[in-house]
């Protein structure tokens, strides 16, 4: 499983496989060159008293090694940066692209926050792990082997001491890393609890103030905060003892080498230079172990993220859309009829939201859907736009089952405005053009004039070039709604869907928009969902939905005459 993921990740590096080999070679040459330096430094110290220019020759070798090591390391780091960031960039793009290919039913299940954190944070974690691995793994391994080799060559007894200590070093760094990891995990759990509490409090600030529960909330916070302080202390402490422990083990090895080395030296068994080489090796002996254990921790994080990301990338996608060849007719002039035939649908299996819904919207008719909250009005729209597929039954647009119309062509016919006032991060004009990219500035402005948004847009500092940011509230909810209406208007579709489109604009504005909408609906097929019955009265046809079933169907006057559900609804509205 793990290997499979790694191999899959390697395909992201695929294009630069040559870099991967270069990286390996550079890691090798860096480790070899830098590990050879202490050996030659020792030889240099021994040749102090030697005749001739032996010392100078050795020093020149060292300088050569320094240059090789320095340049290799520099190139290694650069090469690894390129490799890692390019690969992760592609992975990130794939993750984002995947969103547009997933069925809505999947996206409903996952929270937006976790999807976003996967696309951004998890891929970062993968990058961190891979980068550290590439930077440290080869050179770390080579350093350990090289050090042991040189030591064995210089003095096998001393090398033996080091060899005995090696497992100790391993165990120490493993234990500490493990302990730190566990308490870090606990810390991050409590941290996320604390963070979500704080973000809830800041988001619900007004509520807390109004309800006078600030003392209670402060008390709850105090408990969480204290808890966090304790775990944070522990985690920070545990992670910070790894350095001193390493230094301690190193110091012991060092003392051991000095002891054996000095005794051997006193007996003439080893030169001072060789001893100083050994000491130099000993003083940095633990470093590669530390590096490797850091690689291990980072990589296990990285691997966990990798399996999560790949699992997500393997999610079942929407079926390949049919080719958009047959639908080339001019969409704005076509009058299109819509028909629902026996449509049943459920978001959760066994809990149908729509039951055998059938109705027909004539070409060019305006059609209203009425019913209490939660009766399935918006679901009808979701099905019509193929955000979801019905469990059974059929939906026909222009006499053709929408299953046979590519989603993109189908959506080309349709302009919609929903309750949700989402806007694209971009300028006002970008947003108006959202459904019609080729619109000229003048045409976009005309659309804005028609919906009455022009007047507030002109008051914005940068007018049509004002940047809209969803997190900033300089533009009111009502103005945002106006922009979404303008957006649909500018798209000039043959089917217009208005789902509570005017719920957050004031009455005066609504009347003005209504006029514009009426004008736009003229000659087009329109589906309207609204709470305000006044908006609905003028529609050609009204369907009354309750608990997912069609209760009544007819024009306003017919339905009033029927004396049924609708007339009761109307009565409760007017009295």
């Amino acid at each position: 499983m793990k290997m499979k993921n790694i191999r899959r990740f390697l395909t992201y590096m695929g294009k630069s496989r040559a870099y991967l080999i270069i990286s390996f070679i550079l890691g090798l040459s860096f480790a070899a060159a830098s590990m050879a330096i202490p050996y030659f430094a020792g030889r240099a110290i021994d040749s102090f008293t030697a005749p001739g220019d032996l010392l100078v020759r050795i020093l020149l070798i060292i300088v050569g090694l320094i240059i090789i090591a320095g340049i290799s390391q520099r190139m290694l780091l650069r090469c690894n940066n390129q490799l890692t960031y390019n690969a992760v960039n592609e992975l990130r793009n794939d993750c984002y692209k995947k969103i547009s290919r997933l069925p809505m039913s999947y996206l409903d299940k996952v929270s937006a926050g976790s999807l976003q954190s996967m696309i951004i944070s998890d891929t970062e974690t993968i990058a961190d792990g891979i980068l550290l691995f590439l930077n440290q793994f080869v050179s770390g391994l080579v350093s350990i082997l090289f050090t042991l080799g040189v030591m064995l060559y210089l003095n096998w007894k001393i090398a033996l001491i080091v060899l005995i200590f090696t497992p100790v070093s391993f165990v120490v760094s493993y234990l500490i890393a493990g302990g730190a990891f566990k308490s870090f995990r606990k810390q991050s759990e409590i941290r996320s609890e604390l963070t979500s509490f704080m973000s809830e409090m800041t988001n619900n600030y007004r509520e807390c103030r109004m309800l006078g529960v600030t003392e209670e909330k402060t008390r709850d916070f105090g408990m969480l905060n204290d808890n966090y302080r304790k775990t944070a202390t522990k985690a920070t402490f545990l992670s910070s003892i790894s350095n001193p422990s390493t230094r301690f083990v190193n110091a012991l090895i060092y003392a051991g080498i000095v002891f054996v080395g000095a005794l051997t030296g006193a007996a003439g068994g080893i030169t001072i230079g060789a001893l100083s080489s050994l000491l130099a090796y000993a003083s940095q002996f633990m470093k590669p172990f530390n590096d490797l254990s850091a690689v291990y921790t980072e990589m296990s994080d990285s691997m966990a993220c990798m399996s999560k990301v790949f699992e997500y990338l393997d999610e079942k996608e929407l079926d390949e859309d049919l080719l958009a060849v047959e639908h080339t007719e001019d969409k704005s002039n076509a009058k299109i009829e819509i028909e629902f035939r026996d449509v049943t649908f459920s978001y959760v299996p066994g809990k149908p939201v729509l039951k055998n819904v059938s109705f027909k919207v004539g070409a060019g008719q305006s059609f209203a859907i009425v019913g209490p909250t939660g009766c399935g009005k918006t679901t009808l729209i979701n099905l019509l736009m193929r955000f979801y597929e019905p469990d059974s039954g059929e939906i026909l647009v222009g006499g053709k089952s929408i299953k046979d119309i590519p989603r993109t062509s189908l959506r080309d016919y349709i302009g919609f405005v929903s309750q949700d006032t989402w806007l694209h991060n971009g300028t006002v004009i970008d947003n108006i053009r959202f459904g019609a990219k080729d619109l000229s500035t003048e045409e976009a402005r005309q659309a804005a004039v028609k919906t009455g948004s022009d007047s507030f847009i002109r008051k914005l500092p940068d007018r049509y070039d004002e940047y809209i940011d969803n997190n900033r509230s300089e533009i009111s909810e009502g103005q945002r709604q106006l922009l979404t209406i303008t957006r649909a208007m500018a798209a000039n579709p043959s089917i217009m869907i208005l789902d509570e489109a005017t719920s957050s604009v004031d009455i005066m504005t609504e009347v003005r928009i209504q006029k514009a909408i009426n004008e736009l609906l003229n000659g087009r097929t329109g589906i309207i969902i609204a709470h305000r019955l006044s908006t609905i009265i003028g529609c050609d046809m009204i369907v009354v939905l309750d608990k997912g079933e069609v209760k009544e169907l007819g024009s306003h006057s017919e339905l009033i005459g029927n004396n049924g559900f609708y007339s009761k609804l109307y009565a409760s509205y007017t009295t």
Binding site: V88, M210, A251, A255
Partner: protein, 573 residues
């Protein structure tokens, strides 16, 4: 920066002990090369095995003592870093609820959440590293140079030169690395924004067939981030190789010069080895010092942001001692109230004066932006008027203690925020004194009982902070229940029935009429239908009261009101 230092007071001892122990550890480390030099010169060259044996114990002892002091130092550093930062976080959180609502909104919740989380965390790691390395790193670098001087002043000059060159290089490298990391940060923020926007707008993007364009724009931002990351890492990738090369070249020089002195008899071989060791120690510490500077400077930036929030002046106005009885019904009076939102040039409310008697039911209507909600916010004491007075039962609302104000006045908003927890938790919002009878009653009055009975878990149905699983209208009803449950004497519903269908809304309004104690009710809505049954209706436009009378009277007297009714299909009948 200065005011935050006060937060060390509870951790004074730990904050002093930590660097002291670190210093101790450094001293023991610095002594090691000298002992080894002695062993080489006296023990090996002089073949004195007794000397070797006695001095080895010194090495082991130093290692043990050094390790012990390091552990103490790390513990104290971790303790005071998390302690100080937790205290700062708590102070910040306490501060939030002492701010005026307008001050709070000016800072914005996203800034506050950043301060509470990442700023405080950065401060914590800054303190931690600072305490640990403050004395150690400079001490070892300086100490190694000084030790070199005690061995041989001419060779020590190589040390001084190396340290100088290295410092300059590290400083320059950092100076270009910091802005590059800044750019990475910016790139990441942009990408997060773009991702968030794309995910939340998925239906619109699909509906308008813009998926591939959206993908392109994400790809562009992602590419920018990738480029920034490569640049930043590339700059840092100079640090290790260059310092490594410089130190090793210095070692070569040291050995070369050392050999001359050894041959001249002014230096021993052991001392050369000691100098070599000191040089290696410098490298490690200098890089640590560079990291320390980066972390600490980041922490200082975060600290100043936190400090700015903590330094916001709290209520300047001295609260008078007033007796305010949170009763069953309150009167309200506005006297010449003016109000301007901060940052706006135009007044949002101009010279508003009116009076509401206890037990009255008042409607406020007007177009978006006319000032309806601003009146509500002033009415409940969320905002304070720039001039003029808002009186509750004849008492200036700013003089009423917070506790009394919140129990006397209840308000529900159009966009109801949820607390993560059960429906019950959302109705009580943490007020433990509420009886279950009161909760059931509030649920009934707000028509939330229908929601609750529709869930198998009933009141224990779990709601997330985003309120998933509940429709907008359901959230509004729970918000109203939350307001009613404490039985306030003044109830303000700011467009909080807007998402209800007309049947439910009518039921809710009927139930409100049956509230015990006959509380004063202020309903804000754009819908005449919602307000029709009110005793009086206030028509607001452009921050002024246009008319204020009963429905029938307004129909007679106000042209604007009449046209509003007509537009909504409310005939004059």
């Amino acid at each position: 920066m200065k005011s935050l230092i006060g937060y060390f007071r509870n951790y004074r001892l730990q904050s002093i002990l930590s660097p002291v122990f670190k210093l101790l550890e450094a001293c023991f480390e610095l002594a090691v090369p000298l002992i080894v030099a002695g062993i080489i010169d006296k023990g090996i060259t002089g073949s004195d095995t007794e000397y070797i044996k006695s001095h080895i114990w010194l090495l082991v002892l130093f290692a043990v003592v050094g390790f012990a002091s390091a552990i103490c130092a790390q513990y104290f550093a971790a303790y005071s870093a998390s302690g100080v930062s937790s205290d700062i976080r708590r102070a910040l959180f306490d501060k939030l609820f002492r701010l005026k609502v307008s001050q709070y909104e000016k800072i914005g919740s996203s800034q506050l959440i950043t301060s509470l989380t990442s700023d405080v965390n950065q401060i914590s790691s800054g303190i931690n590293l600072f305490l640990r390395l403050l004395l150690r790193s400079p001490f070892i670098v300086a100490g190694a140079c000084i030790m070199a001087f005690t061995i041989d002043w001419r060779l020590a000059l190589i040390f001084v030169l190396t340290v100088a060159v290295l410092s300059v290089f590290v400083a320059f490298n950092m100076r270009s690395a910091i802005p590059a990391y800044h750019k990475t940060r910016q790139g990441l923020d942009d990408l997060v924004d773009s991702c968030e926007n794309g995910i939340s707008g998925i239906k619109v993007i699909r509906g308008f067939n813009r998926s591939s364009d959206d993908m392109e724009s994400f790809k562009a931002k992602s590419g920018l981030l990738c480029k920034a990351q490569k640049t930043a890492s590339d700059i840092s990738a100079w640090l290790n190789p260059v310092t490594y090369m410089l130190i090793n070249l210095a070692i070569c020089l040291l050995i070369y010069r050392g050999s001359i002195h050894v041959n001249a008899g002014t230096l021993t071989q052991g001392e050369t080895v000691a100098l070599y060791n000191y040089m290696s120690q410098i490298l490690v510490e200098l890089i640590k010092l560079a990291n320390l500077i980066v972390t600490v400077s980041r922490a200082v930036a975060c600290a100043s942001r936190v400090e700015k929030i903590l330094a916001i002046p709290e209520d300047g106005k001295e609260q008078k001692k007033v007796e305010f009885a949170a009763g069953s019904s309150h009167s309200v009076e506005f006297r010449n109230v003016h109000f301007t939102y901060s940052g706006n040039s135009e007044e949002s409310l101009t010279d508003i004066s009116f009076k509401i008697e206890p037990g009255e039911k008042i409607g406020i209507t007007g177009r978006t932006g006319s000032g309806k909600s601003t009146i509500a916010s002033l009415l409940t004491g969320m905002y304070c008027p720039d001039s003029g007075e808002v009186l509750i039962d004849g008492i200036d609302i700013e003089d009423i203690p917070d506790k009394d104000k919140t129990s006397g006045i209840g308000m529900a908003l159009q966009k109801t925020r949820m607390f993560s927890g059960t429906i019950k938790d959302n109705i009580t919002a943490g007020r433990t004194e509420l009886s279950s009878d009161a909760i059931d009653r509030a649920a009934y009055l707000s028509c939330s009982d229908e929601i609750i009975s529709g869930k198998t878990e009933g009141l224990d149905y779990k709601v997330s902070a985003e309120g998933s699983g509940l429709s907008g209208g359901q959230k509004q009803r729970i918000g109203i229940a939350r307001t009613l449950v404490s039985k306030p004497g003044l109830i303000v519903l700011d467009d909080s029935t807007s998402a209800l269908d007309s049947g439910t809304e009518k039921r809710l309004l009927d139930r409100l009429d049956s509230l015990e104690g006959d509380p004063t009710i202020v309903l804000i809505s754009q819908k005449i239908r919602t307000l029709k049954s009110c005793d009086r209706i206030m028509l607001v436009d452009d921050g002024r009261i246009v008319a204020f009378a009963g429905h029938d009277e307004l129909l007679e007297s106000s042209e604007e009101y009449r046209s509003l009714c007509l537009l909504q299909g409310e005939d004059a009948s």
